[in-house]
């Protein structure tokens, strides 16, 4: 895999046309949806945009390594999930280090709070408090409406795992909401 030079979309050097055009087209078609996915995970618009930009940059850099460009969306969706997971992990580490209350990890940014209303905040906090696998299965199945097979591919797990993780997520979330009410 060769190193790609820095460039901006629309200004591709020779030899990078496919990658640039492919990534730019994918971004145009799916960026909003992926930012929405990331904001569900992270609750912060800026962080969500960063995660998606970073995922597309990763796709661009690894374009030659894709065995099938038709898999690019699956790749970048997985990359967004991975980066969200890392962002949550790093946020948690930072908070523990700073000995802060873990509240912000499970809540929305001020902007989002103003937009979505209180009734949804509790649910989203509960979703973000789920273990990684359960949270991802729930979001991919019920927010993106992916099939079990598509969810399994995005998460890198088996269909059986998706099935059990999703049902455990719903059960755990239900318990949390009941406790909170």
């Amino acid at each position: 895999m060769s190193s790609r030079p820095p460039l901006t979309a629309g200004g591709s050097p020779a030899g990078d046309t496919d990658a640039t055009a492919g990534v730019a087209a994918l971004y145009q078609a799916h960026a909003v949806g992926l930012i929405r996915l990331a904001i569900v995970m992270l609750g912060d618009r800026g962080a969500a945009e960063d995660v998606v930009q970073d995922a597309f940059l990763g796709l661009y850099r690894n374009w030659d390594g894709l065995d099938d460009p038709g898999n690019a969306l699956t790749y970048v969706r997985s990359a967004v999930l991975n980066r969200c997971r890392n962002a949550l992990r790093q946020r948690g580490q930072r908070e523990r280090r700073d000995r802060q209350d873990p509240g912000p990890m499970a809540s929305e940014s001020a902007e989002a709070v103003a937009l979505i209303g209180e009734e949804h905040q509790e649910v989203l906090a509960g979703i973000r408090a789920l273990p990684d696998r359960q949270r991802e299965a729930l979001v991919l199945r019920f927010y993106l409406d992916l099939s079990e097979e598509e969810t399994a591919r995005a998460m890198g797990v088996s269909r059986g795992t998706v099935k059990s993780a999703t049902s455990r997520a719903v059960a755990a979330l239900g318990r949390k909401l009941k406790e909170g009410s």
Partner: protein
Amino acid sequence: MITTEDRARAAMRAIGDTVRDAPPLELTPSAPDLPAAADEVQLGGHRTRRVSLRRPGGAAHPGRRGRDRRWRSRLAPIAAAVAVAAVAIALVTIKDVPNGRVAPPSPSTNSLGPAGTSLSIPGVPEYYVAWIQASTPYLVVRDTATSKQVGEVGAPRGVSLEGIYGAAADDRTFIAVGNRLQDLGEDTAVWYLLRIDPGGRTPARLTPLPIPVQQNPAGIAISPDGTELAVALAGSPATLRVYSIPTGKVLRTWSATVPGQLAVEPTLEPASVAAGSQFTAARELRWSSDGRQLAFAWNSSAIRVLDATAPDGNLMTSSRRLAAIGTTVNKDSSVTCNAAQGWELIAGGQGVICAGSQLVPPLGAGGGECRQRGRTLVGFLEETKDAQGDVESSLADFETECSAYAAYPDGAYIGWSNADASVVIGSLVWDGHLRFGLFRDGRFTPLPALPVSVPVPTGVLIGTYDW
């Protein structure tokens, strides 16, 4: 009646709908271009002194870059200065080598065997087993040096294979864990022994094991002689058990008497670690190469070690803290042990090597010489106690590494390390390059790509790959 599922859908839609557009796409890496380097990588040595980002005499030595530095043996004498904390810490960085994942292994480090046989690399496991994601996941046995497939194992009927775990000293014995899928009720864990016999009539054979653990394990480790299995069980109390592999009999049990989890990665819901995350289950436990010590990740904050033959008892009082997981802040910088991305017990249970990183402070002595201040270097972090058990902080000398920094702070992965950390199989990601291969004696040798299917994991090494 509004169900939990309905509420979840509505809440996710509400926050998602706040996004109506996306910022322009910028494919400009924040990192400057690094010059192309040779196929050999030089690694920073260990110094028992504070981190210095200055080059000797304050002069730049561009000609030395990538040529005259070596990853010195961990066993090299460490000056006994600066005794401040409990462990010796050394971070090894690797210079930029855009070899990618697909370059062939360097012939200089391989001993060529007869046609059709393994090209073994001395001191390195000859074979690894990869878990392949598919509708019905399966296992593939490959030759480390050539990536050639030597066997394939499908899932038994009604079972979904979930992970594969290695570490037995003979590199021919692995443990596979699956879920028996139930139409009703919870899936239950099922256990198998995977023995590989390259060149034999059955190159890979899966045999059911009578391990009586039905919940997904939080961690798994095999004794070096391949006869015992350590299983971490989440829940309350967190429990570590050792089973006889042939009989399934419980040999020893230790339980925590304080709240906490056998976890390498933080979770917001400790009780649910029991779900057995595929991403972390291979990272929770390690057995020392001499079989005497068991190490476990505790509360994603520490690696603790205990005598593997200790009688049943209290997990916490039977063990001692060996290393920190996460970030350790020093006077001049901070280092991070990203144990969730790989760690191994080394030095007979007296230390660990883990995927790590170091934040280079934006200001410091000689400020201005290094353009990359405020950046994060990635590498393999060693934490070891000295002979006196004193606390030392020792960081690698980065004086010639100024321009090598990580695009991703978590860009280091360890898949395997030998007992003294002088040989590591792992990967590093930075500045757009993903390098997978062998790190030994100051040299980096690329290895063939692992059979990574889409989706590509965060790094090439995740818990489902094992040697």
